[in-house]
Amino acid sequence: MTFVVKGQKDRHRVVFKRRAMASLGARGASSSASNLVDSALHGNTRLQPSSAEASAQAGDEVVDSIFRPPIFPTMSARTARASMVPDLFTSLPPIRDLLNTQSSQIQEETIQECLPFLSGLEPGATYNDHGVPHLERNRHIQFLHKSLKKLPAPYVAADASRPWMFYWALAGLSTLGEDISQYREPLISTVRPIQNATGGFGGGNGQMSHLAPTYGIVLALAIVGGEEALDLIDRRAMWKWLAALKQPDGGFQVCVGGEEDIRGAYCAAVIITLLDLPVELPRDSPAWSGEGATLLTGLAEWVRRCQTFEGGFSGLPDAEAHGAYAFCALACLCILGDPHVMIPKYIDVPRLISWLSARQYAPEAGFSGRTNKLVDGCYSHWVGGCWPILEACLDGPSRILAVGASPRAATHSVGSLYSREGLIRYILCCCQDRTKRGGLRDKPSHSSDSYHTCYVLAGLSSAQHKWHFNTAETKTEMGGNLASPYQWTCEPFDGEVQIYNEEDRVGTLHPVFVIPEGAAEQTRAYFASKGGF
């Protein structure tokens, strides 16, 4: 069936509704009291997912209640909560096809899975005035600390990707405001035996060097910072190893003899710029094509080849557009140059924005990774993280007028191109494991893990902040190759009604490196100050 959809005016009515609810609250049905009401009504039994029809009807009842004084001072908690949430997040999409296929079936199931969480019907949870639960900060912190402790045998499947776990945990903990200095020493002694004399890091001791764990370790070391941590990286060997990975077509293999893909392109670019490596290519590189050939030759063109007819990016040329690869592509281009220069030069921007925007679904409100696939919390970063870069691309560079002043866009800002409110709702309502376990997840039916915890938090961070790409003054300070990614600054985003409590704002993460603001700048400055290896 289709639903009658109310237009934009409803949006304003929703705001009005909240005020109505606040006054209602004084009579005993406030959101803080709703927990009591909930247990009185439902005991401890788990609520069955409500049908969307029920939620939609609940919303309608409340619309009525604005115009008529409430007759019952204790309206059901269920109605009270649903009323705080705009119907966009509690009702089925306005247009649905009758044809049933596997894709539509699991999409339908996902909507039904998310609706109770989005509608404020999760048992035992407390909600703010917008029907949004708190960030369970302490539980997520404990979850990430635990992920760095000794892991049981089934984690053997992560034996070749374990360095990611250092990065996910440290980036996540920093985002949550946790002091991670206690991990500096253990991280140093952990990663030292993972480095190979031939350059780069593997997945563990004795494993071949691979760009993914090398990326994870370099970022983890940048997060903990300090001379000892940074100096353990053998930069000369790293440079030679990268040269061995560079391919004649411009891209990078992920390891010697391994696959060539866009992760390789992004990870290599991150490593080259953060470690301030020379870009010259030694003659023994498979990509050496004559004097003047560098590690960067043809890289942007290679990235461009990954844009698909849909507008998104694939992991390698000719494959399907996928959210994770869109971030790799954009972030890579933003290392090679300024976003407003590089992005329009190498990619079809309108098609990309169209595809990226189509990743956000309602009512779930989170992002999916591909057309006709399901929402997943990790795309809060992979897709969500594309927006600050694209917004900066469209805005053009900002100018910092005075030290400490906020940057001013050269022209009028495009504002937000996606629904920050939607993403924040999906994250806080659907992605949190709010039990003792803590951590963040793909969707309510999935278990939390450190990968999702890191990238869901990264998405929350970018939705809560506004990034500016600033004019070149900072670049000249930085000097050297690939100085563009050090020109970003940010401020809290205040463009719309804030649906989360201020205490649930998380820290900032650099839009290109995805590590705490300042860590990339310090790392680069440290290596630049060394001058050569």
């Binding site: 959809v5 237009g7 934009q8 966009l88 247009i95 096809d97 044809l99 296929t101 596997q102 894709s103 539509s104 992920s147 000794k150 892991l151 045998a153 984690y155 053997v156 499947a157 992560a158 034996d159 070749a160 990707s161 374990r162 991990y183 020493e185 253990p186 002694s189 952990t190 030292r192 035996p193 593997g202 997945g203 001791n205 004795g206 494993q207 390891c255 003899g257 391994g258 696959e259 844009q307 698909t308 007819f309 849909e310 507008g311 694939s314 992991g315 000719d318 494959a319 399907e320 169209s354 956000q360 309602a362 057309t371 006709n372 504002g415 937000s416 191109l417 996606y418 629904s419 939607g422």
Partner: protein
């Protein structure tokens, strides 16, 4: 006593224990079996040994952890060094792949095997056809589990390139998958690749988002019809809409050439309630009308999307409305300049 420690065949090897560093973070409590096998692997790798027993050892480790790229790469180099039977290896890899759906490494391993095998069959069209059929059969088995498996599809694109499978059979095989689920976007993507990268007629290196003047008109027409037929089955399925836009771009045709088709799903009367059966049709028409300079109509379509039919993307639709006005102003100014 461990499996290898007590095996006389391995008597000559001194395993190298793993150095995890002191107080290592996220240290994995390996089973004794895995720890021992890895110790022997480090030892044979250090000695650059490529032998039958290395194949057994790597098979053993992969059975415990299939996501170990080092083990896979070392196994591949051992197979090539020994000139071992590649087809036998492929059939073993099939079983591993079916048990490890999300694994990355298997597919690269498979590519290395095919690269190695190819020269021996490249001059025999029958052998190539037979090999292609058995590979497609295996992928069909994989798609039964997950028809959108990214690694399988990437491998498929590699195979099409390697074996020159820009064929009718390949298109038919995609159509079979689309008949099962017309929303399978991976299949749509693959079709785009097979149709528009066909070396028989396409421009080498033509980007997916650009016009390729060498694509014959009848191919463009055929693909337009293909996407339209699929759209009628489920108008709110975005895959064929994206495909249609991609085809029109490749063919250098205007979106407005499909105005009537998109109009099938959108009725906006002068008075009364509109009837929208596909938000993607409305999006398409907004671009058609912008292309035709009908700014007000385009703006109204975008307004409807943002306020009613695709509200989660309101900011995007509003941004499009903004660019519409900017373009309108630029066009208007151009007219004024011309008038003077």
């Amino acid at each position: 006593m461990g499996k290898y420690e007590g095996d006389p065949e391995w008597d000559d090897v001194v395993p190298i224990p793993q150095d995890d560093g002191e107080g290592a973070l996220a240290q994995i409590a390996y089973t004794d079996e895995y720890a021992e096998a890895m110790g022997y692997l480090r030892a044979v790798m250090a000695a650059k040994e490529h032998s039958e027993r290395v194949l057994d050892l790597t098979e053993h480790i992969i059975s415990m952890n299939a996501a170990h790229y080092t083990v896979w790469l070392y196994r591949a180099s051992t197979i090539f060094a020994l000139n071992a039977d590649v087809e036998q290896e492929l059939s073993w890899v099939n079983d591993v792949a079916l048990d490890n759906q999300k694994n990355y490494q298997i597919w690269h391993h498979r590519q290395l095997l095919v690269d190695h095998l190819y020269p021996s069959i490249s001059s025999d069209p029958n052998a190539i056809r037979k090999f292609a059929e058995s590979e497609v059969d295996f992928m069909t088995q994989m798609f039964d589990e997950d028809a959108k498996n990214y690694h399988v599809w990437s491998y498929r694109q590699y195979l099409v390139r390697k074996l020159n499978l820009f064929t009718e059979a390949e298109l038919k095989s995609i159509e079979t998958l689309l008949r099962i689920d017309v929303r399978n976007n991976s299949a749509w993507s693959h079709r785009f690749y097979v149709v528009f990268s066909d070396p028989k007629y396409s421009t080498p290196g033509s980007h997916a988002t650009e016009y390729d003047p060498k694509i014959p008109d009848e191919i463009i027409d055929r693909e337009i019809e293909f996407s339209k037929a699929a759209t009628f089955e489920a108008p709110q399925n975005q895959s064929p809409w994206n495909y249609l836009r991609g085809v029109l771009r490749k063919g250098g045709r205007k979106l407005s050439s499909q105005e009537c088709f998109a109009g099938e799903f959108v009725k906006i009367p002068e008075n009364g309630e509109e009837d929208i059966r596909s938000s993607h049709a409305l999006d398409f028409l907004a671009d058609v009308w912008a292309e035709e300079g009908k700014v007000e109509k385009a703006d109204e379509a975008l307004r409807l999307l943002g306020d009613k039919y695709d509200r989660i993307r309101k900011n995007y639709w509003d941004w499009r409305r903004g660019t519409l006005k900017e373009e309108g102003i630029t066009k208007g100014l151009a007219k004024v300049e011309l008038a003077h």
